[in-house]
């Protein structure tokens, strides 16, 4: 669907509505066949949108609030259903329960519902009768014809998909191992897969390129498997090895390298939308996120079977512990625990929870299944057989789940960690409370000058009405008032804002012309507010005194007093409510010192963190979910039967499961019976070896995706992958030992005219290095690469956050920074921040870490070349590279030879050597001012060149 960016609209609901009759794919226009038939009993009332709107706005919330406890699918599941009456589906509402028909459209008097609500017969709700106003709403609605939206009955299969037909689509058929297709040139294939590619080429008149040279091959294989260039001695060794299995030996050596996991883990992390902080509106680092990243690296290095790899990430906590290696068993859960966690504040807990669940469903469905399931959060999938109900059925695996931190250790260590954590939290809470108290006191102090604030607000509002622009800073200069409450006061007084106890004053103020002297009416109105505030404060405070010493007779705080104080001071949005973040700037010297002491204690505590790993994880889940009408968490509809997607064989009709656990989810995905799991993964691996997947849309195998170029090959690879025990390393060998993989990458005009984008693999695509491989190659060639595997990304000495004053105190994470020339760790260990993404990473197409990345863009823009030419990173690397040359060799010829072998894996041609000689020997004018010597420039040039940036 359209929403690959994961950007939410204002209401936070994914915008996935699409009315297009067709959609464009690169190779063809696909007119969509809707595979399901819609069988809908349609009445006039059902198709009346304003009536439905009335139902949604007025009636359904009443049902939900007052009736669902005993009359819904949830109640039924909990054995609490009363009278056989279901009020969470249109049919249930109409049909009624044991007492007969419940709602008769257009006839309130004859509807059982009405007599029950009026307590004439059944007396519902039983504990308290609804108000007459509410009851009349039901009456009005029944008079309208009791309109209800058709989609509400989705869970009752009003819309029926012909599942047999839907499952006939290639993607939902189990892959089979196909016979080798007939080919003409039988001499060419080396492996089974070459038969499939050659057959596709031959049928289009394409002729495969010549085989790549050995130098190209080892360079290609080394970048592909470990993301680094081959060392010159490795190239030499391969060139000398004449055995037929020489290349296989190279592949095996590379697959055993610990750097293999670093390269392939990063691809997985794109999919897992890995980051070192939470995707929140403020910076919240997760310093131990790296434990998940390192787990993924280890998993690839150990060739953990892919099905097990998935099971541990989805439900490692729900499978029995196989050893006491808690990290091995649980760290993979970061796949879910490290997903975005949204603020549960103003936007509402239900919405945040629904969004978090959607993130998990989206990540695993696009990432592991190649299906855009989350489109169905709000409406039935427009193109694929995924009804809304199925989204909620599957999402049940996450309903009730929490993403809290899990200690990756045994019970004793866990307790020790928890105790430390609790003390830390307590200290933090105390500090927060202390700050909040100071803020409250500041607000209280300023309330004593309420009249000055009101007059200042009046002046500002009058100026704004005159069209003058003014901000609180100006007013503060005038009156020595605090800008923060004043600005909030001005905004609160706006007539478009909600009304409050100052309405009378606003009326006077807005009718009072601006003048230097405060006019009497306004003075009087202001004084009356002042008096009311003083009285209310006195009452509040004597009440407090009375509570403490019991001697003063309390003066009662009236409702009006409370309302006034709430509006002005006590509520989070009140003008005189000083938020915690505003407090530090108001503290006096003594308070500042107090604050500092408390901070220092917290930092001390942080430094005492027990050396026990803990990281955001997942626990629980599996409870049934209600379908949210149009994805809106405030409109729960029918309960969806918990279970897997029906098109993939889940939730058999009439099933009675009342839970769908993550373990069941994991079993349904990591299964040879799942027609998509193996295909989708094999296709991803193929993409990273060829630059294009057999299905080009890696995350969409649905009807909106690109059809496979080699469907039978994809199937055969998938079957063999499963049969190999889901061995990823075996898959690499299978692909890389083929003639297809080993083709030269040179362009060819004739083939290019038939298949310009090389869909049919008549050559290897020359692929530009991604930012990780390019930067790692810079470090490697210049001899600066730190080969250490694993370890923290962020500074573990906390806080791992600093402010950057030059960016308006923008905060950022402290640790391994991608473009810092002193950072010599591999790029996979660089900070990935959702809050402040590294601009260089973005410049070179690093994906957005908030959502599963289907595929990386490859863009070419001048700013990239500015980085290449001028960044401190490339300059530092060029200097190190040049030093390496000059220290190792003394003659120009030897140095050039070494340089070329390091950077390109080959010796320079005669022309290149001559060109270099000319470049090195001519001293340009003004060279004295240059800080870059000739060899440094030459090395820099090699690092900047195209040959360095592309995999041959």
């Amino acid at each position: 669907m359209t929403n690959t960016t994961g950007i939410r609209n204002r209401a936070g609901i994914r915008s996935v509505t699409m009315n297009a009759p067709f959609s464009f794919s690169r190779t063809t226009f696909v007119f969509l066949l809707i595979v399901w038939t819609v069988a809908l009993p349609t009445t006039a009332a059902e198709s009346d949108p304003s009536g439905i709107e009335y139902f949604e706005r007025e009636i359904r919330p009443l049902f939900a609030e007052h009736c669902y406890a005993c009359h819904s699918a949830t109640a039924k599941a909990a054995n609490k259903l009363k009278g056989g009456l279901l009020l969470d589906t249109p049919s249930g509402i109409r049909r009624g329960g044991e007492s007969g028909p419940n709602v008769i459209p257009g006839k309130p008097a004859e509807s059982t519902l009405m007599s029950a609500l009026r307590h004439d017969s059944l007396q519902m709700p039983p504990d308290s009768k609804l108000s007459d106003a509410l009851i009349s709403k039901f009456e009005h609605w029944i008079q309208l014809g009791a309109p209800m939206p058709e989609s509400n009955d989705e869970a009752m299969a009003v819309r029926s998909i012909d599942w047999t037909e839907a499952r006939r689509d290639w993607a939902f058929q189990s892959p089979i191992e196909h016979d080798l297709p007939a080919i003409k040139n039988n001499a060419w294939p080396v492996s089974f897969l070459d038969h499939f590619t050659l057959s596709a080429m031959e049928s289009r008149g394409l002729i495969p390129n010549q085989k790549a040279s050995k130098r190209e091959l080892i360079r290609r294989a080394t970048f592909d498997l470990i993301g680094l260039p081959p060392a010159p001695e490795e190239v030499d060794e391969f060139l000398k090895d004449d055995r037929p299995e020489a290349f296989a030996a190279v592949i095996d050596r590379l697959l055993k390298s610990p750097h293999y996991g670093e390269r392939w883990a990063r691809y997985w992390l794109d999919l897992a939308r890995y980051a070192d902080d939470e995707g929140n509106s403020f910076l919240s680092p997760t310093p131990n996120a790296y434990l998940y990243r390192d787990w993924v690296i280890r998993a690839f290095n150990q060739d953990l079977p892919y099905d097990e790899f998935l099971r541990l990430q989805l439900a490692g906590d729900e499978f029995p512990l196989t050893s006491n290696d808690y990290q091995q068993q649980w760290a993979g859960l970061g796949f879910q625990g490290l997903g975005p966690q949204f603020r549960k504040g103003a936007a509402g807990e239900a919405k945040a929870k629904a969004d978090e669940i959607e993130d998990r469903v989206d990540t695993l469905s696009r990432g592991l299944l190649g299906l855009t399931v989350s489109c169905a959060r709000c409406h039935d999938h427009k193109f694929d057989p995924i009804p809304t109900r199925d989204y909620y059925s599957m999402a049940a695996a996450y309903n009730g789940a929490v993403w809290s931190e899990r200690v990756l250790a045994d019970a004793d260590s866990t307790n020790q960690y928890r105790a430390w954590e609790q003390q830390l939290q307590q200290q933090r809470a105390e500090l927060d409370k202390w700050i909040a108290d100071q803020g409250r006191n500041f607000g209280r102090r300023e309330l004593d000058r309420i009249e000055e604030y009101l007059i200042a607000a009046w002046r500002i509002r009058a100026l704004i009405r005159r069209g003058q622009l003014i901000d609180e800073a100006v007013a503060v200069e005038q009156g020595n008032l605090l800008g923060y409450p004043l600005n909030r006061l001005v905004r609160s007084l706006d007539p478009l804002a909600s009304r409050g106890p100052l309405d009378a004053w606003i009326l006077v103020a807005d009718q009072t012309e601006l003048s230097d002297k405060v006019p009497d009416e306004l003075r009087i109105a202001t004084q009356s507010i002042k008096d009311a505030v003083v009285t209310a404060l006195r009452r509040l405070e004597t009440k407090a005194d009375a509570t403490t010493n019991g001697t003063v007779v309390p003066e009662p705080l009236t409702e009006a007093d409370q309302k006034l104080l709430t509006w002005l001071w006590q509520d989070g949005s009140s003008p005189f409510f000083i938020k915690n973040k505003e407090v530090p700037s108001l503290l006096d010297a003594q308070q500042k010192s107090e604050s500092q002491t408390r901070q220092t204690k917290i930092e001390q505590k942080l430094s005492e963190r027990p050396a026990i790993p803990a990281m955001p994880s997942v626990s629980g889940g599996g409870d049934p979910l209600h379908i949210l009408v149009r994805g809106n968490p405030l409109q729960p509809g029918e309960q969806a039967p918990p279970g897997f997607l029906r098109v993939l064989g889940g939730q058999a009709e009439g099933g009675t499961a009342n839970r769908f656990t993550r373990r069941q989810l994991a079993d349904a995905i990591a299964s040879p019976q799942n027609p998509l799991t193996a295909r989708v993964f094999v296709n991803r691996v193929w993409h990273y070896h060829f630059g294009r997947g057999i299905v080009a849309t890696l995350g969409n195998f649905g009807r909106q995706g690109t059809p496979p170029t080699h469907p039978e090959l994809l199937d055969t690879l998938a079957v063999r992958f499963v049969r190999s025990g889901w061995s990823v390393k075996a898959l690499h060998r299978e692909i890389m030992l083929s003639a297809t993989y080993q083709l030269g990458s040179q362009s060819n005009e004739r083939n290019g005219s038939i298949d310009p984008d090389n869909h049919y693999l008549w050559r290897m695509n020359p692929r530009r290095l991604d930012i990780e491989a390019w930067r790692d190659a810079l470090l490697s060639v210049s001899g600066r690469l730190d080969p250490k595997v694993g370890g923290p990304t962020l500074n573990q000495r906390t806080p791992a956050i600093k402010e950057r004053p030059e960016d308006d105190f923008f905060t950022y994470l402290v640790g391994n920074v991608l473009d810092d020339p002193t950072n010599s760790r591999r790029t996979v260990y660089s900070i990935v921040s959702r809050y402040s993404p590294n601009p260089t990473a973005g410049l070179f197409d690093f994906p957005e870490p908030n959502v599963v990345s289907e595929i990386r863009n490859v863009t070419t823009i001048p700013q990239q070349q500015l980085f290449v030419l001028n960044s401190p990173l490339t300059i530092a690397m060029a200097k190190a590279f040049a030093a390496r040359l000059t220290q190792s060799f003394s003659t120009e010829h030897d140095r050039l030879n070494f340089a070329w072998n390091l950077a390109y894996g080959r010796s320079p041609t005669a022309a290149e050597e001559q060109l270099s000689h000319d470049f090195l020997s001519v001293t340009p004018q003004n060279a004295a001012a240059d800080q870059f010597g000739p060899w440094e420039q030459l090395c820099h040039s090699l690092l900047c060149s195209n040959e360095f940036a592309f995999i041959p």
């Binding site: 960016t5 949108p49 060149s945 592309f950």
Partner: protein, 492 residues
Amino acid sequence: MQATDRMFSRRQLLSRLGNGTGLLGLAAVLEQEMFAETAPVISRLTNASPLSEKPTHFAPRAKRIIHLWMNGAPSQVDTFDPKPALKQYAGQRPENTVKLKTEFDTGGLLPSPFQFARYGQSGIEISELFPHLAKLADELCVIRSMHTDVPVHESSNWMLFTGSIQPVRPSYGSWLLYGLGTENQNLPGFVVLGEGQPVNGPSNWSSRFLPGIYQGCQVAVPKQYNPRDVIPHLQNSQLSSESQRREVDFIQRLNQMHGSRQGAENAFSARIESLELAFRMQMSAADAFDISQETAATFDMYGLSGSEARLVATVPGQSTVDRTLFGRNCLLARRLVERGVRVVQIYCGRAQPWDTHSRNSQGHRDLCQVVDRPIAGLLQDLKQRGLLDETLILWGGEFGRTPTSQGNDGRDHNHYGFTSWLAGGGVKGGMVYGATDEFGFKAIEKRMHVHDLHATMLHLMGINHEKLTFRYSGRDFRLTDIHGQVAHDILA
């Protein structure tokens, strides 16, 4: 620089580009349209960079575009499309609006709280939200009959920028660069100015299947900046400009040798050209982004003086829009078009500040207060400098907003009808084109789809939108696909 000519000729190097499919589509078009001569297509094109200026189909009325995108979608009935009937029917949902489904269910009609008045000799009605722009009413060609396909931001953003609701087509800016090249080879020809990322991010200005060199170049200038630093890594700390030129020539010779071994490859050529562009940008970008050369009067014109410059609009739940950033981007846009940049797009803050599903009135009040003066300043400034005649200004959102209410004071997305306005290069000023129904919900008179807008924009730039094609994957593609009617009525 003599070293350049001796060591390396860019033209030789770029002669390779002619072999790619990239330029043949246009070449064929140009051949057909413009030239009776029989010179081989390739020889003519290979003498030029893919970014050098190219002939138009007919005389252009505008040479450059500045697109002021109010991302999130402003409300037409609160700005440029007065609907008194909303007061009369406030709270009601008349029959003919019931079937108009938008993203969410909306309630009854919500009148605009803003006063409209007639401005200029033309008497165009504009709301009180744009007091400064209203003074320039006679420059505006207000199109009140815009419509698009879907009420979804992502899709409609792509429609507005690429002519497709899917992220699969090149941006119109990329099409224009491909078709026309750019007048200044030392600056990116297609610049996107804004803060953070708008919805869809770079996919709004991607070149997709057109060569990568035609993609938009995003420049997010922070509040405090040094013009030499706006584009990161703009300066080399180690080498004089002459020495660096010499090094770049050396790199390009290496690249050339590499290319001749590997054969023609768009990815290689694009990187080569990109390196050249980067080298030239070092000098010209710093100058283009150096607004310290501007006078106090100019700053004032854009609302960038005094406390006014500190204005910030905050729409609940949305990103802020900051006068300093938006105003300065308007000023930078003038500096860029003045230097021959072909397409400048400005978006109005991170994500989608104009998406006023709630507090629509206050949101519009605040947002318009921030953007009105800079936009008026931009028009005025271009006019004073004689640039307005050949610069096309486009203002608008990806769609509009409903005249019906969402919640108390919110307006939902509305793709059935909305307002955009054009000004400058080749359009009639002081004109209202098209109309929506009596409530401002649906465009009914002289309906103008986004495809029609694109066709008209290309026409104004001297391009026949049906003839600017690119052969890809076995067929010819164009910006307007199979759609698009030029709105001849609005041409000056």
